[in-house]
Each structure stands twice: as C-alpha cells, then as structure tokens.
Symmetry: C2
Subunit: 328 residues, 2 copies
C-alpha cells in the first residue's frame, strides 16, 4: 500500500515534489491543490486530479500526507497551521528567525487535530541543520560555519527586481574559497559577512534606465547587499534567459573542533551539497520527509516536529534489516 501524498501549491517546488514522488515506488501522488484555476494547470503525472485549494478539506480521508509547497514569506505562515488542523503535513518553511513562531502555531493546530506536522524540511533548514546538530553533538568544543552557493538566491534576485528600472535579475551567492579553505583547515577564523560570500548580480535594465543608479541602489541595499562585496553585470533579457535559466545552489556546513585533555587533536566535519536544481532537490527532501511523517503518524506521534526529531531510518524506504545489512 503506497503512501498517498497530495501537493498544495504547484510552482517550482511543487513540480520538484511531483518528480521526486515518481522516483519512489512506495509513494503515490493522489492530488494537487492550487489557488489558481485548476484547468490552467497540466501536471506531469498522468491521471492525477488538480483541485481548487478550498476543496482540500473534502479530501481529508484520501490523503496520508499533505506537502505544502508555498513560499515562506506569505504562504506558509498561515497555510501550514491551517492545513495542520486537517492533515499530516510537511513544509519547507525557511525563514530561520521565524521558525519558533511557526513551530508554535503549527504545533497547536496539529495537537488539536491529533495530527503530526514536520516543518522546515529542505536543505537549509533541513540537511544542513542535521549536519550542524550531529557535528556539534560530537565536537562540543568547536565552531560551525555555513557557506552557501555558488547558487541563485531567490530572495536577493527578488530584491533587485523591486528596484525602479530593473526588468529582471538573477543574484548568485558565491562562497569565498580562501574563507572556506581556512575553516576546512580547522583554523576557526573570525569571518565577517564580507569575508565569507560575494554577491554576483546579473541585471536586465529597462531601456533608458540609469544603470549607475541601479548599480548604486543594489550595492547599498541594507542587509541584502551593503555588507558584501557585490558585482553588478548588465545583460540583455535574451542573455539572462540563455545563461541564467537554472536554479543551481548548494553550500557547505563545516565544524572544526578539538578533542583530548590538552585539546591537541583537531577534527573537521564537513557536509556539502552541489545542486543543479534547488527546487527539485528540496522537493526530493520533502518527499522523503512525507514518508517519515506517515510512519511517525502510524507510530501514534502527534504535534509539530522538525527533521531533528525524525529517526533517520524513517526517511528511507528500506527496512531496518536492510539498512543494517547494507547501509550501516
């Protein structure tokens, strides 16, 4: 019997989840819910209904796990608690500073409904969080650094697009190799934002727009760019479409620490991702998490959890015997 999964929100991430479900024999996509006109969507999976978001409640008994694929800025803060009162849910809420509030709201809804929810499942938060927790538990006398990229930051690209005279933009976050290497060698350097990452911007300006002003507005934008060395390249819409259509990303979590009575022995733990497609990889994490949620629900667990609460074996389609024999 396959785990019946529904997708709520069908953008890049929803399509990534759909493709991931197709790679897993024990998972089955049973519906996609959308706030757009369902007739306007064509899924890649044959025979799966596209339904209006407001009909979700009518399908409570047909769905084992609902995967929420909305955005963290405006969708998930209300969608996850709302749907957590109806379904076992998984989301990829990634605004780190707001996780405690999102957890509290979702936990209350899940508990009231006797359901389980798993929030902030992706790669950061998600797999990177796991790397930080494992490495810090094993090396308590140590220091973490997380580097992101080289990859497209949607938030920074959006911020550039909001500048007057900008037609389109892509922003790459680029880790600085000297900083990564120093951390990797266990030197525990003190690093500013500027020391760790560059920001590289590819911008399509409107005809006649003041490029000097656009560049200045980007480079001085508080929080997003002013603390970084930023390069701005103006290109045509055709060049942007040709050279910057993908959504690659990745990064590294590094922890270096010492052991022994004199702290003489150094150790470095590194977890790195190189991703051609951020939404497809994130969708793949969400699909594995949906499997885990279904198992945790069957084990009688309720309330909101994060991937830090999930026994790793629950994410795998293999049995305990198979895991011990082949992957342990």
């Amino acid at each position: 019997m396959k785990t019946r999964i529904a997708i709520y929100g069908y953008g890049n991430l929803g399509r990534g989840v759909e493709a991931a479900i197709a790679q897993n024999d024990d998972l089955e996509l049973v519906a996609v819910f959308t706030r757009r006109d369902p007739a306007a969507l064509t899924l890649c999976t044959p025979g799966v209904p596209v339904l209006p978001a407001e009909q979700a409640e009518q399908h409570r008994d047909d769905v084992d796990v609902m995967i929420l694929c909305g955005g963290s800025a405006t969708d998930l803060p209300h969608q996850t608690p709302q749907l957590a009162g109806l379904f076992h849910v998984v989301d990829s809420f990634d605004t780190h500073a707001r996780i405690p509030a999102h957890f509290a709201a979702t936990d209350a809804a899940s508990r009231a409904a006797g359901k389980i929810s798993l929030i902030s499942c992706g790669w950061d938060p998600g797999l990177f969080s796991l790397a930080r927790v494992y490495a810090s538990a094993v090396l308590p006398q140590g220091k973490d650094e997380t580097f992101w990229g080289r990859g497209v930051s949607q938030g920074h690209s959006d911020a550039i697009r909001r500048i007057e005279g900008v037609v389109d933009a892509r922003q790459y976050t680029v880790p600085i190799p000297a900083a990564v290497d120093a951390v990797r060698r266990g030197e525990q350097p003190v690093l500013t934002a500027r020391d760790k990452h560059l920001r590289e911007c590819w911008v399509v300006a409107a005809e006649g727009a003041d490029r000097d002003r656009i560049e200045r507005e980007i480079k001085t934008m508080p929080y997003y760019f002013d603390e970084y060395d930023t390069t701005v390249h103006f290109i045509s819409a055709e060049e942007l479409a040709r050279d910057h259509a993908g959504l690659p990303h990745g990064g590294s979590v590094l922890r270096s620490g010492v052991t022994g009575w004199d702290g003489a022995n150094k150790h470095t733990v590194e977890f790195s991702l190189r991703l051609d497609s951020n939404p497809e990889f994130t969708g793949s994490v969400l699909a594995a998490c949906a499997r885990a949620v279904h198992r945790m629900a069957q084990a009688g667990m309720t309330g909101c959890k994060t991937i830090l609460d999930v026994p790793p074996a629950y994410l795998s389609p293999l049995s305990g015997e198979e895991l011990r024999a082949h992957l342990l």
Copy 2:
C-alpha cells in the same frame, strides 16, 4: 542531574571516551571497568574508581549507560550481549558483515532485561552510515561511494605485524584523488578497489630479516593487500615512533544522483571527516550516543538500536527550543 557513564575497557578508545565525557557538562564518568589489574591503571579523571570487569554487575544501579570500548574482533561479540543484559549499553562494533548477527544477539539480551542498547556507533559505521541513509533517501536514483583515509588502518597494520620478521608497522589507507574527484563531479564511475585506494606501509623489520620476502608477503596478502597498489617502506623503530605515532583517519561518503522527469539535473551530497585522532573522535561519538541512549531509556524504549534509529536531537545537550532557535 548528570548522566552517569561507565567505561568498559580502557585502551585508546576508552581514553578517548574519558576525554569526551570531560567536554560535556551533562555527562559524568562514574567508573572504569577493566580486565587488567585495576591498580595498574591511572585515569586522567580524578576521583573515578577503576574496578575489575567482573564486578560490573554489582554496580547496575550506579550506572546510567555503559560504554563498551573493547575491540570488534574478539571482545564485543560476547561483551555487548552479556552487558546488555545488565545495563543500557553503547558500543562501536565495526565489522560491517557481522552487524546483523551482533544486532540479533544484543537485541535478545536487551529485550530480556528491559534495557536499551545502541551498537556500531562511531564514524563508519556511525556518522558515515547516517550520510549514506540521508543521501540515499533524498536521491533514490543515485550511487554511493565511500572513501577512507588518509588514515591509519589498525587491521591492516596488525596484519603486517603478523608477518615473520616484522617488528612493528603502520599502514595508511590513502584515497586516490582522481577517483574522489570523478565521484564528486557526479560522473558515477565504476571503480575497483585498486581505483579507489592506495595502501602505504611503514615497516620496522627485525635485524637480518629478508626484506624482499616481507614486502612480497605484504603485497600478495589476500583481501588485505592483493587487490590494491601497495607501497612498502622500511624504517627504523625510532623513525616509526617519531613520524607515525598518531592515529589520524577520515574519509568521505559521496552520493550523486539525478532528479526531474528527464533526470537532467545532477546533485552531489558529500560528508567528509578529517580526524587527527581516530580513537578520540570515535570516543566523542560514543559519548554523544550515551546521552541519546539515556534519553531513549527514559522514553521507555528497549531492545537494540543503531544510530539510524536515534532522533538526532537526542544526541545534543540542547533542548528542542534551543535547537530550533539556533541550529535548525
């Protein structure tokens, strides 16, 4: 109230566990059990009793978790099931092929006693197993490779020492960079044992011993060396002590896989360790696992588990709230 830990077996690994416990405020070493003469051992931790192994049972109520620090070849196969009938236990059993049998024996003993046991906790098996399970769950259409080293293999060093005319030896397992890089690029190459690792041997020969014969016996030794390119260097006992006293190790687990409907997008997940001291790092993993075992016992769990069954948060001294706010 600290978690009261005892160490069973006080060699390199036991000393590593002792040093790790001292780095964790919530853990406390309460006893070391040894099969040697207790009077002959001097601990680094002041005030902790060294007791004869056969007295362990008398201290059942004084110990929350017993960490077994014997060897996988002859000690743990009988010690773990035996002590699992008396204590919540953790071991680092690392003979991969015998894990299912070791699990079965330990599980039976733990269940009969209403205790919990956690076997095969170190870095491989252990953290590397976690990397394999997470990466394969997220990228089901992919391929794993594990590389070990550069580091000292105790098993291979021991195998050389058993050759007639060898006084002492150190064997380094060395990953071959071209193979690592091809895997890292997602090429999924087909690799033989010889393609993946070199074996580098530093040998102290007895005076008058036939070095050509020793070198030949090493290089043709079935399973240990015959499937690898092996170099043999003869050095003096002084040089061995001066240049090869440490027990560094490490390695990488890499998985590359594809996502999307056409499998066009490639992803690589990499987990790497660089360790100055294999026994101290392994001891640090065992200490974190002892914390998890104590929590799992308090949650009422019984029977044998592996790190694949442990919710990651159980390994950390931080609360769920702290983890969500700072590490997620």
